[in-house]
Symmetry: C2
Subunit: 141 residues, 2 copies
Amino acid sequence: MISEKNQDLKKAGLKATLPRIRILQLLETNKQRHLTAEDIYKALIDAGENVGLATVYRVLTQFEAAGLVTRHYFEGGLSVFELDEGSHHDHLVCTNCGKIVEFCDDELELRQQQVAKKHGFTIADHCLYIYGICRDCQNKL
Amino acid sequence: MISEKNQDLKKAGLKATLPRIRILQLLETNKQRHLTAEDIYKALIDAGENVGLATVYRVLTQFEAAGLVTRHYFEGGLSVFELDEGSHHDHLVCTNCGKIVEFCDDELELRQQQVAKKHGFTIADHCLYIYGICRDCQNKL
DNA sequence: GTATATGCAAAACTTTTGCATCCTT
DNA sequence: AAGGATGCAAAAGTTTTGCATATAC
């Protein structure tokens, strides 16, 4: 299983070092797909790995540059990292419980292209975060 | 002119103090509508005001709570503040020159409501940032 | 063996907080 | 006069950087 990650990393032009393999594994297997650098660092420490927070940031930055990972800047100035599995999507964020729902809507994508075109922009990227209260929290509150 | 701002501030339940008036003036008159706390602080210092950066943050936070100002978390983890003049809008950001174009598109707004509803969310807020290259930069590059 | 990556500690940034003093009402 | 607001300095939180050591190829 580690040899698979080796391949993934090498394809991305990165040496297959232990911290990189562990971080990649964690991102792939963790239930919560959106993690802060601190989350990842703590999880690795808890798992008995000897890793530095600085390395986590360095690795995540490299992963982002290599397109393996997407970095989001959520409200509150917090960054979360998410494995990029090729399929673009946007996010619904529950401001009460923190739940994140991913979705992708072709109509929204298309309309954004039209808006950008109208203003003379070539879209490189976009992010849409919809903040609200999820069903569960609505019932609880 | 200062007395007008007094009214605005009092309406918002805030005492009309000098730093608040100056910051409000700056947000209203500055060409660039999106400013960081640091930008505002520097502009006030340059204008000869004796103000602390902490006060700028405090005032902006109060303005945000009072609905006078909107805070955005852009890529890079940087916060920018913008006068809230009541009309919701989204942003096109040029990743080359930093230009920001505001727009509002009813179709996008409507579609977001539909998507949120489908997932059981009640929308409190949303932000859509489209990152790309503006017309001017496309011609230059 | 060589170059790159790592861990640790220290630094750089942004934002917040404590506290004595000042200003608005 | 009284309470809230301010400036300064120090603290807190996140992310980056320097450097000697360890690791992958």
